[in-house]
């Protein structure tokens, strides 16, 4: 068992198969039973089977907390941004609108903002978060840095994101490919004839970001 501060959370959307095991398991978590805090959506099912899992990125300076008029959103000492405190939350939705990753959910039944708290009840007891334990594809991974480095030689974790003029640094990492990214298969007809056009959707966004991060 690793100590809490040795383990980190990594998201690798390229591995996601859209099975929703994470969503279903999240709703089994003890602190928010019956409610999943993960967003898992098709990018565009008409065009691709690509799905993207989104858990809270646990920002260093959480926008959700910054815009909260009731000071209801707190970060723990080890950097976990928690759901709104029930006595304080006024259900104003500011955090839902402001989060650049679209993470917080307004649970209207409770008039409370709820979000992923990195399974604080589990991680603080030395267990992995539910989603990263069950994920069958390794798209969600929780473990020590040397382990992910060894397991994923073709990508590197990054945790800086640019939204307009806002630079956001997060506790949770995204895996970005280190080498050239192969085009994805999107339309069967593109590969059915010898000279068919092949749509090249290279993930330049991620590799460029990684490159610029390298340059810093």
């Amino acid at each position: 068992m690793f100590l809490l501060d040795q383990n980190e959370f990594f998201i690798d959307p390229a591995r996601c198969i859209g099975c929703q095991a994470c969503v279903q398991a999240c709703s089994e978590c003890d602190t928010h039973k019956g409610h999943a805090m993960i967003h898992l959506e098709y990018v565009d099912r008409g065009q691709s089977t690509q799905t993207v899992p989104v858990v809270c990125m646990h920002c260093e300076s959480p926008t959700c907390a910054e815009v909260c008029p009731a000071d209801a959103i707190k970060k723990t000492e080890d950097g976990v941004v928690q759901s709104a405190r029930k006595p304080r939350c006024v259900a104003c939705n500011n955090c839902v609108l402001a989060c650049p990753f679209g993470v917080p959910k307004m649970i209207t039944d409770f008039e409370l903002m709820m979000k992923c708290d990195l399974c604080y009840d589990r991680t603080s007891a030395g267990k992995k978060p539910m989603c990263a334990t069950v994920c069958p594809s390794g798209a969600l991974f929780y473990g020590p840095r040397p382990e992910i480095d060894q397991l994923r030689p073709r990508s590197k974790p990054m945790n800086q994101f640019q939204f307009g003029r806002q630079t956001i640094t997060t506790k949770v990492h995204m895996m970005a490919p280190t080498g050239p990214v192969k085009a994805q298969y999107l339309d069967v007809t593109e590969v059915m004839n010898e000279n068919g056009p092949r749509q090249r959707i290279a993930l330049d966004i991620l590799s460029n970001l990684y490159a610029s991060e390298d340059g810093v």
Binding site: C19, Q20, Q24, E28, K33, G46, S137, P153, Q184, Y185
Partner: protein
């Protein structure tokens, strides 16, 4: 009388399928469970380890079991939510008798009375029409003990030759091909060998949705540098990012394998030493594939010549490899030939029986492997033995304490049993763990045949679509209410442990079967006190056979986290990888690695034939069927689990935009699929991820939503698997919603 007692709506209203969600204890936080039970998932052939949380004799949730080596805590959505099948409002807690006067067509009756009635009907039918007039159907979700007992009950108790099981629609093509080529029917390698492979070839297997946990093995192999080739008519979630996607036209797999072998020979990508030393039949095969030039291969398969050449080069020049296939190449009238084609390119490469060099069919059902080894298959006796082989008959007869003459001969496959019902040769049926009305093709025929039965008894925990036709329904046990072993798709024998007791009058299936035998006065050999006693006899019955379990014990399974069969003695650790250099087996007796008297594997000429029902002007579109990740088989369990229903509520028709625009079909619109046998009206989902000559529909629903109203009952001549993966249809969008669109919930 096996027609519906009343219309199906009142039956559905009382017996479901209804959706179950977490409530009560299951929704409370910080409930300390009474115990955590280490067991396995009740669904697919991966058999993931899972710990069930039990409180007050109820499974209230799960905890990942990270120590179990195969899945290390990983689960798919079905495994996560499976606990919701327990304490379900639809659960059958009593025996029921068909009664058209009862509000929902069924009247509860005391369990013993139901058993007596079953025994009387079996006695009456068999004494009037002969022993073979009563048939028995089993399933590959039963534990191996139950499957063994069911075979013994049918052959020794009922003396009927007519026993078969739902594995007939699952993995029998692969099983037959494996026996023809290797002499043994088991995945050749443990999944761990995937991680060491340089090239991974996946033919007709939607791994991400049907075997989700295997995805991590694929992705990890790729991190290690592996190239992944996916052959499929759809860009499945694993195909999206694979290294080479071959969009094959459904039903043409053997043409591709022959084309690949043609190129392997032309470029001399062959392991000559291996072929010479360990195989027979290569010369004839080489002659046969001469005509399978890349051009012809491309014409037949719909894959480009360039892609075929690239695949052949990657496969041909690899140092290590793993080839996997599933129902995509097996559900065909030439399913055995397809699998033989796959095996041919493995044998020609010589890459088998070594670390990182593997071949496997990915068995679909929880005990798809174990359930086909020990005697519920029509032509088979325990230990993977052949019912027509005199030595095999003698061995099993001795264990059972009867003479070989008393053992019935081979029966016929499940579909042929229905044809025997049509011909009046079979008049009564006992069914367990099988929902043929949803899962067999041309389901209109199946319904008519159920209606022809004089007596139909089914053992189930829910009132399945098939059970609605029963004269007597006996309340059986859920997976978590009994113990026993299963063999996962990699051949790992593992132990299912009981977490809770059966509720109400429900009881463990092996008790019910033995209760029927006792009521018949035919309890000889069917008086086991528990699954362990059955297993101990099964060990003896399998000893010396190919599927040799004699060295396996419940304790060894627990200690080793599973034991790979064959395991022929107490001090044997089991056999994770077959065909290793220097390995021995009871058939070759030291002459070689493969399970034939000369120890050599067989190349088999696998000629190409088109599907039984190819497209034409009248029916110009190919229909293919399969699974979605949140549902399992006929949905008897998963259509009753609320969160899984919500994830994918109703079947959708996947249609390419090119095909949709030709018919003016819009996304979400009702589309009628018409075939020669039936129609099915569902909503369209327009996606670029499918071939434009093909539509796909998942098969987990019953009634008007069942695509098996349309599929064809044509079968492989050897394996008898039905051709679910290809039939000809036309699609029309001018009829609007079907009659059942109103008044039924999505899962019903």
């Amino acid at each position: 009388m096996a027609s519906l007692p009343v219309k199906d709506l009142p039956i559905i209203e009382l017996f479901g399928p209804h959706r179950n969600y977490s409530n009560g204890l299951r929704l409370e936080s910080a409930v300390e469970p009474d115990k955590l039970v280490q067991t396995h998932c009740c669904f697919c052939g991966m058999q993931c380890g899972i710990q069930l949380k039990v409180k007050d004799n109820q499974v209230i949730g799960f905890e990942p079991w990270e120590e179990f080596p195969f899945n290390q805590g990983m689960l798919c959505p079905k495994g996560v939510k499976r606990y919701l099948q327990g304490a379900h409002p639809d659960r059958l807690l009593k025996a029921y008798q068909r009664d058209p006067a009862a509000p929902a067509g069924f009247r509860a009756l005391p369990y013993d009375e139901a058993i007596q009635r079953v025994a009387q009907e079996i006695e009456r039918i068999q004494s009037t029409y002969g022993p073979d007039s009563f048939a028995v159907f089993g399933g590959a979700s039963l534990t191996t003990e139950k499957a063994y007992l069911l075979g013994k009950f049918a052959r020794m108790g009922l003396k009927t030759c007519n026993i078969d099981y739902n594995g007939r629609l699952c993995m029998v093509s692969a099983a037959a091909a494996n026996k023809k080529a290797f002499g043994i029917d088991r995945a050749a390698n443990p999944w761990a060998d995937i991680l060491k492979a340089e090239v991974i070839w996946i033919a007709g297997a939607n791994i991400a949705e049907c075997f989700p946990i295997l995805t991590n093995y694929l992705w990890q192999a790729r991190e290690n540098g592996a190239k992944i080739i996916v052959v499929d008519p759809r860009i499945t979630p694993i195909a999206r990012t694979c290294d080479l996607f071959l969009p094959i036209k459904p039903g043409r797999d053997i043409a591709l394998f022959n084309g690949i072998l043609h190129l392997m020979i032309e470029k001399d990508w062959l392991d000559h030493d291996f072929i010479d030393t360990h195989t027979v039949g290569f010369a004839a095969l080489a002659e046969h594939v001469k005509e399978w030039t890349p051009r012809r291969c491309a014409e037949v398969t719909g894959i480009t010549e360039a892609a075929i050449r690239k695949a052949a080069q990657w496969w041909g020049s690899a140092k290590s490899s793993f080839l996997m296939h599933a129902r995509g190449i097996e559900h065909h009238t030439h399913g055995v030939q397809n699998c033989l084609g796959a095996i041919n390119i493995v044998l020609a490469s010589g890459r088998i029986g070594r670390e990182g060099c593997g071949y496997a069919t990915i068995t679909g059902q929880g005990n798809g492997q174990g359930g086909r080894e020990h005697g519920q298959k029509c032509d088979q006796l325990p230990g993977g033995r052949d019912i027509e082989n005199p030595e095999h008959r003698a061995h099993v007869a001795k264990v059972w304490g009867i003479t070989p003459e008393e053992l019935p001969r081979a029966g016929v496959d499940v579909y042929e049993v229905f044809r025997r019902i049509d011909r009046g040769e079979v008049r009564g049926l006992l069914n367990i763990c099988f929902n043929p009305l949803v899962s067999l093709p041309d389901s209109g025929f199946i319904k008519r045949m159920l209606e022809r039965l004089q007596f139909f008894v089914t053992i189930d925990f829910f009132m399945s679509e098939t059970a609605r036709h029963a004269d007597i329904v006996l309340p059986g046990s859920l997976h978590e209410e009994d113990e026993g072993i299963v063999a996962s798709a990699e051949g790992r024998v593992i132990k299912i442990n009981a977490a809770v007791d059966c509720p109400g009058d429900a009881r463990q299936d092996w008790r019910i079967i033995q209760d029927i035998a006792r009521a018949l006065g035919r309890e000889k050999g069917l008086t086991f006190a528990n699954p362990r006693e059955i297993f101990e006899e099964l060990r003896r019955a399998s000893a010396g056979g190919i599927a040799d379990y004699s060295g396996i014990t419940y304790e060894k399974i627990e200690k080793q986290m599973g034991v790979f069969w064959p395991c022929p003695s107490d001090d044997h650790p089991g056999t994770p990888r077959l065909f290793e250099a220097g390995s021995s087996n009871p058939i070759a007796k030291g002459k070689g690695r493969f399970y034939f008297p000369d120890g050599k594997a067989r190349f088999n000429v696998a000629p190409y034939t088109p599907p039984a029902e190819d497209v034409d002007d009248e029916f110009p579109v190919i229909l293919t069927t399969g699974r979605v990740v949140s549902q399992y088989l006929s949905g008897t369990q998963t259509r009753r689990i609320g969160p899984l229903v919500d994830q994918y509520p109703e079947p959708l028709i996947e249609i390419h935009p090119q095909l949709a625009s030709r018919h003016g079909i819009k996304d979400g619109e009702w589309v009628r699929i018409e075939g020669r046998r039936g129609i099915c009206t569902l909503r369209a989902r327009i996606v670029t991820t499918i071939r434009p000559d093909t539509i796909f529909v998942p098969y987990h629903w019953g009634g008007g939503k069942s695509i098996n109203q349309v599929t064809i009952a044509a079968q492989d001549p050897i394996s008898k698997i039905p051709e679910y993966k290809v039939c000809a249809v036309r699609i029309l969008n001018q009829y609007g919603p079907p009659a059942n669109a109103q008044g039924l919930e999505p899962q019903q």
